[in-house]
């Protein structure tokens, strides 16, 4: 299974590296949000001692993960209709590896994107921690979240079997999850009913975990709480997607 995953992961990376510009284009939207939201809400949102841009950076990193990995299933559907998946399935390849390689590829891609955003905001003067250990820990949470959403997208792709509803679910998944979380505003700033939704939203835990390890004051307990939740989220969604893929045999 590991060797199959590695070979398929390499295949997807080779294809991505043939058109790296497309991966870079996905960075534009989060950066625009950073500029616009930073300028719009900076003066109104109370974020304690932090400046608003520092507060927002973890949220923007998580947004990049959401936008990057929630569409992974679309390319799976294209591979299915092009016959590439059948070509893999007629070979004695591990079925788990087919899903795992796609999810890993998507997660690694968003990892690279978030790293670039971190460098950009650091150059722009953000005071978030760039301590390598803190950055690696934050990227671990980001990777797990990427795995989780890519797995969800692939799982939905297999169940829905069509691109249109998948895109609809992708849209429904990304923006509401962002706004019903503490990605852009602190929970205290939200009405009570949104606070309740935010508590059940995995995005909130991912954002708070990354914020706890990248912005002062560093809160390792809060980080590990989010890390543990992301670990469970990633494994649960991955198991669900693999199970859905195994039932693909018509």
């Amino acid at each position: 299974m590991i060797s199959d995953t590695w070979h398929l992961f390499n295949k997807y990376m080779t294809i991505t590296m043939r058109m790296p510009l497309w991966a870079l284009f996905t960075l534009i939207q989060p950066l625009i949000w950073l500029l616009i939201f930073g300028a719009l809400f900076g003066k109104f949102v109370q974020t304690g001692e932090q400046n608003y841009v520092d507060f927002m950076v973890p949220g923007i990193l998580i947004m990049t993960v959401l936008f990057g990995s929630s569409w992974s299933g679309v390319s799976l559907l294209r591979e299915i209709s092009a016959g590439s998946v059948d070509r893999m399935l007629v070979a004695p390849v591990s079925r788990v590896a087919i899903v795992l390689s796609r999810v890993m590829h998507s997660a690694v891609q968003v990892l690279a994107q978030t790293l670039i955003i971190l460098i950009v905001v650091w150059v722009m003067g953000s005071t978030i921690s760039m301590n390598p250990i803190n950055v690696v820990l934050a990227l671990t949470v980001i990777f797990l979240l990427g795995v989780g959403f890519a797995a969800l997208s692939n799982g939905f792709a297999i169940i829905l079997q069509r691109e249109e509803p998948l895109v609809m679910i992708g849209n429904l998944m990304t923006l509401p999850l962002m706004f019903f979380s503490s990605a852009l505003v602190p929970t205290e700033f939200m009405p009570k009913w949104i606070q309740l939704i935010a508590m059940a939203n995995p995005i909130s835990y991912a954002v708070e975990s990354v914020r706890a390890i990248l912005t002062t004051p560093i809160d390792t307990m809060l980080f590990f709480k989010g890390f543990a939740i992301m670990l469970v989220f990633a494994f649960a969604t991955l198991a669900w997607a693999v199970n859905a893929f195994k039932s693909l045999r018509d």
């Binding site: 060797s3 070979h7 295949k11 294809i15 590439s84 070509r87 893999m88």
Partner: protein, 460 residues
Amino acid sequence: MTKLAIEVSKLTKIFSQNNKAIDDLDLKISEGEILSLLGPNGAGKSTTIRVLSTLSGFDEGKVLVDGIDVDTDPETVRQTIGVVAQQTGVDYFMTGRENLMIQGRLYKMKKGDILARITELSKYFELEKSIDRLVSTYSGGMRRKLDIATALIHRPKILYLDEPTLGLDIHSRKLLWKYIEELNRKFGLTILLTTHYLEEADSLSNHVAIINEGKIQIIGTPEELKSSIHGDSVVVSFETAGEKEKAYAEQLKQDGIAKETVWEGNNLHLYVEDGASSIPQIMEQASQHGLQVTTLSLARPTLDDVFLKYTGTSMVDNGEEEVEEWWHQWAGKGGGGNWKEWNEDEDGSGDGQDWKGNEWVNSDGSSKDDAPDADASEWGGNEWVNSDGTTKVDFKETASPATEETSEKQADWKGNEWVNKDGDQKGDWGDSPDWEGNEWVNKEGKPKDDWDADSKSNKS
């Protein structure tokens, strides 16, 4: 006794309550033979291939591939088979070599073995020059060849080909037939192929199985199937197929003039002992019934007649629809009225379904117009390509019986160009919708015969 490569007994696959994709299907294929599954759309051909290749489950029956049960040991079956599905399945943004390499890896082959196999397969399929190019630059025929090479990377004993030549031009199709035939003859590969093309089934297969509504209707060698319809085939066409016409058909059968009658739209297919002597009786009966016969034709039975008898539809009809659709596509891209004649002339068969916007290119792929000053003698390796860059095979290699005469003629033409009646040189075919009065000229500008005349002489 020859060992069975594939043994299917009482296979049933139910998609929904009223939809049996495969219905109690029995099929035996001996080692080293080519069997074609011939059937209309929705007959169950592809579903059968999917079951046999472990891609699909089934509800009842038993399927043994190389003696291994596909239901209980699919992993071992996968090592034994190679599958070429209808969609190409190769990755367009990878090179031919990378596609073959990843497939070899998925079969757990060692890197050295895969590399040796790639060399072997690319040589066999004449892909050496393009093996390190992205597949997105390949022509349809090259992609198909790569597809088959990918399915053969792990040296399977059995090869499934699901409509392998669908969408290919006539020449690429015939070239693939050559490879398929050789794979069977030289390397002893057992091949199960599904096809829409009667000619393909007829020329390639040891046995043909006609499948309809999930059942094998009849199986035999192409000759056995054709001779199962004794005598001649007479097709009588009417403007409508009403009660009077139906009564007329019944009467012909009762009188013993026709052994069998099959309706296909407004066409009545009659199978008679001796066509020539039956025609007067057929016409006389028609006039007695007060019927006006639109057309009448007489022929020896073909596989299409066998197909019609067992499925109630004609394969030729499907082909005609494809041609019509194709011409519509072509019409939108421009072209002159002589195109069809040229097409008939080119492939010798007159159907020319897949050719659009062809032009001359020399052996290095540059178009003729790119090298107006090239010496005539350098134009040895000309090729046809269509408007999307699909390369046709070198003219000198055109060896199919239907095109031999034409090819010899065309191979003598070195340094030809298109010019219109005013002597202006033609550019890209697809961008010139208003070309009329085209002519062949050689590089000295000496005109060739009129296009129509040329076409006719070639056909003769």
